[in-house]
Each structure stands twice: as C-alpha cells, then as structure tokens.
Symmetry: C2
C-alpha cells in the first residue's frame, strides 16, 4: 500500500485506528474452540466487526509462533482474509525482527512475499543492515522501533550522548536517511506523548505507529495534539481493549462497539487538528 | 543445559564450536530435493557429520520462517533430532526477538516449551522487559546482542554517552544485573576482536557467542586471546563455512572435514590459553 492510499483510507473512514490481533488461544470465547482453526475464526469475526472503523490490522507474531505450524497457518489465513475485505486495509506484521544481510532478506521474504503483509516492525540495534533488505520491496514498509511504551524503554532508549541527545533521537536522525516517509514509519509509544514533540521535530512527515492506548494508559487527545501532521501521520493501535472487549458469544459486537467508539474520538480529533 | 554441563562438553570435545544451521532450500545439494523434508534431511546429515566436533548448533530462524509452516516443521524436526544425539548438545535458536511483557513470554513459550531450544538470541533495544520473561525458565538461556559483526553495528552500538562509554558497554553493564552468567550470554562479533577486551572487562564470566569467523572475516586466534576465560567462555559460530563446504553428494563429509579442522584449531587454543 502507498502513502497516499493509506491517507485516502484515513480520510474515507475518518479513522486512524489499527486493531492489534494479539489473538491468544487461551483467551478466545470457548464457543469458538470447536472450529477447525479457532484463532482464524476469532480473527475473521473481529475483522468483520471492526472493518468499518479500522484502517490497519496488526497481528503480533509471538501469539502465532507460540502455536507453532498451526499458528503460522492461522496467521496466513487471517492475512488472506483481510486482503479480500471490501476496503483496502494496511496489514502490519508486528514481528520486531532485527537481523542483517541475507538473514534480514529472508525475513523480508517471509513477511512480504510469503505472508503478503504491507509492513513489518523492526528493531534498530543492528543498524542499517537490518532495514535495507526490506526497502527493496516496492510499496512495502518498515516500521522501526524508536521510542517504546514499556518501562524497559528507559534502559537504553533514553541514554544521552555527548550532545544531550537521546538514543531514540539518534535512531530517528540516522534512519530517516535510509528511506523516505513513503516506506518508513516509527513506533512511538503513547505513554510517552510528551516526547512526540521531539519526535516530530526530527520526522515531521513520517507515519507513527502508536501503541499503548487503553490497556497501557496512553492518551489519544495528547497523541493527536503532538503527533498529527498534515496527512494525519498516525496509526494508533488498540489490541486487548478491542478484541477482548467481550468474552462471550457477543465478543464481535462488543469489539465493534469499542472500535466504533475509538473511531468517533479519532474523527473528532481529525476535525480538530486537520481539515478533512 | 547448565553452565557446568556446557563447560563439560567443551572439555570432552576439546571444542567450542557452534555450527550455524542457516539452511537455505536454494543452496542444499540437489540430490536431497526429493526427500520428504529436504531441509531436515540436510540438517540431519550435517549434524551426524559434525557432532564429534561441535558443542552447539544454532538454527537461524529466518531461514525456516521463509518457508512458512513447512520451515517451522523442518526446524522442529531438526531440534528433536539433535536432542536424541549421542552427546549432550546446546541448541540455540537464533531469532533475535525483542518484544515485551506477555508478548515476550509467548516467544519464550515458542522457543523453550514448544521447540525445546536451550537458548534464544534477543535484541536489547526495548530493555529488561524483553529479557525477563525468558529468565523464568530454569536452565534456559538468553543470548543478548551486545556488539555485532556487521557494518551497521556502527550506526548505534558505538554511540558514546557523556562518560565516553559505548552503547554496547551500557548494554553489558545494565543487563548483567538482570541475570547471572548461568543464564545469560552475549553476542560479540569476531570482526571486532579488539573490543573483546572491553567486553571482558565488564563481563568476565559470561559465555560469549561469537559469529563472524570465516565468511565474515573474524580471526579465531584473536578471539581466544582476548575472549577466553577460565571456563572457556566462548562459543564460536561458523555457518556457511561448514554447511556449504561442499555442494555435491559428499557435502556431509566436506562439512565434517571443515568442522574437524576448526575443532583442531580450538583444541590448540584451549591448550594455549587454558589448562584443559
């Protein structure tokens, strides 16, 4: 998907919602466990229920890998299903990979050629060698970890160099030379909304993938205030808050309600901070 | 596997060789392609051919994931096969994962519970939250990226803080408080052997996983000189140099010769720098 296609979807749906498919076989409603592929069946219903409100879906690889071959198959089916949906949707494999050279190229093959995702999350620790092999794919994206929403982010991401710059700022500055805003996004945690200003000073045009709304305590209004740019420039993710909004047979309609609620907040913010 | 079991294997085999199973379906000898699972068949023969000389095997996840469900199955079969070998072997899943909390816990489940690896490589960027869930598993190991052997290592790992310390030194200093040398190792690239001194100043007791011998240009003598400790403290990896030593029907015996050659160099170095 291209930058302008993504922006079009945001305008059409008046939403910058990304639904995180952190689908845990131990948390899905029991009536689904008889299905041939319960994880896929859960995802299918979640996608149907939230498609009007979401511009992106983000399956988290760990949840699928923990089920081995079967999980990989559920993931593949889920992506195939989303690809056939009635609207164009951005699919982001949240894999946080970070290897180099031919190894990195094989991960790109796995996520782009084989699974047909639009984007993959990567870790910057090994530098440009991690990112480059993914950039060879046209209209595919790298979403690089910059500033994450967890407590452990303080361990290294806030280390200061001799000029007083944080590591996450160095990551932004260096990596933005590797690819344009049409192929690169950054993960910036919502619990650190105050730092969005510093992020935007370095990467004004890039999309930011913002996790940490809801369960992790981030504030959507603050994220929009500091993070929105002229093309919205935000994908805000909610996982558990949506997909586990209900635990019974009505889980999909509960998820739909929750996604609709977030969409309405997002529409309000899009009107407030942009002209759409 | 425990620290002392690993050290015992090193003493018995007079080797600290780790064989990297970077098994690429496009590079294995053509006569294997008729097998039901060519990747497993290749790995099985490589393991049989190198088991006398290697104390560890390191499948690189990207090579298996690029084959989807089938690749995952080849990996599982390979690990099961190594587990039944006539000697105790350390199995390291080279996955370079780096997520947090429950997600990190699911990766731990995938690699330790499901695949039965002894260790997994992790990226430090997201801090302690990445590592902690893996440490709950007894006699299982985290191998944390510290200083890697690729050019991109210069992008961030050598950033200096206000005290003049490199990022990789900060990673070592902080992370060594999270786990003892009985559960944590570090990746230190052989092409940066001169920095092994700085690494050893911070983590004298930990095992170091050293890639970059051979194809990547590292020097085994230098690695031993600067990196060896009283329990050897080194696992030196060779992947392509061994597994692709031959390309015909005799690939396994070529791999065996190459592994034997490295084992002899290692035996010499163990005698030179330690008393075994």
């Amino acid at each position: 998907m291209t930058y302008s296609e993504l922006y079009q979807q945001i305008q059409q749906k008046r939403s910058f919602l990304c639904v995180g498919l952190d689908t845990d076989i131990n948390r899905i409603p029991t009536h689904l466990l008889d299905a041939e592929d319960p994880v896929f069946e859960f995802n299918r219903q979640i996608v149907d229920a939230t498609l009007d409100y979401a511009v992106a879906y983000k399956p988290n690889l760990a949840f699928y890998e923990a089920q081995g071959e079967k999980g990989w198959q559920s993931l593949r089916r889920t992506i195939q299903y989303i690809r056939k949906a009635r609207s164009l949707v951005f699919i982001l494999a949240d894999a946080k990979r970070g290897d180099i050279g031919n190894t990195s190229g094989l991960y790109a093959k796995a996520f782009f050629d084989d699974l047909k995702a639009d984007a993959v999350t990567l870790s910057p620790y090994m530098g440009s060698d991690t990112v480059m092999p993914f950039l060879k794919y046209e209209n595919k994206w790298v979403v690089l970890l910059a500033l994450t929403s967890n407590n452990g982010a303080n361990d290294f991401q806030f280390l200061k160099d001799r000029k007083g710059e944080y590591l996450f700022e160095q990551v932004l500055k260096k990596s933005k030379k590797w690819a344009s805003a049409e192929q690169m996004m950054y993960v910036v945690g919502a619990t650190k909304a105050v730092y969005l200003k510093r992020v935007r000073a370095i990467v004004p045009d890039h999309f930011l993938l913002v996790p940490g709304i809801g369960a992790q305590g981030g504030n959507l209004e603050e994220v929009a205030l500091y993070g929105m740019n002229t093309h919205c420039g935000l994908l805000v993710n909610s996982s558990r808050g949506i997909i586990y909004a209900g635990a019974g047979v009505d889980f999909a309609s509960k998820a739909s309600d929750k996604a609709a609620e977030l969409q309405q907040q997002m529409e309000f913010l899009l009107k407030k901070y942009m002209v759409i």
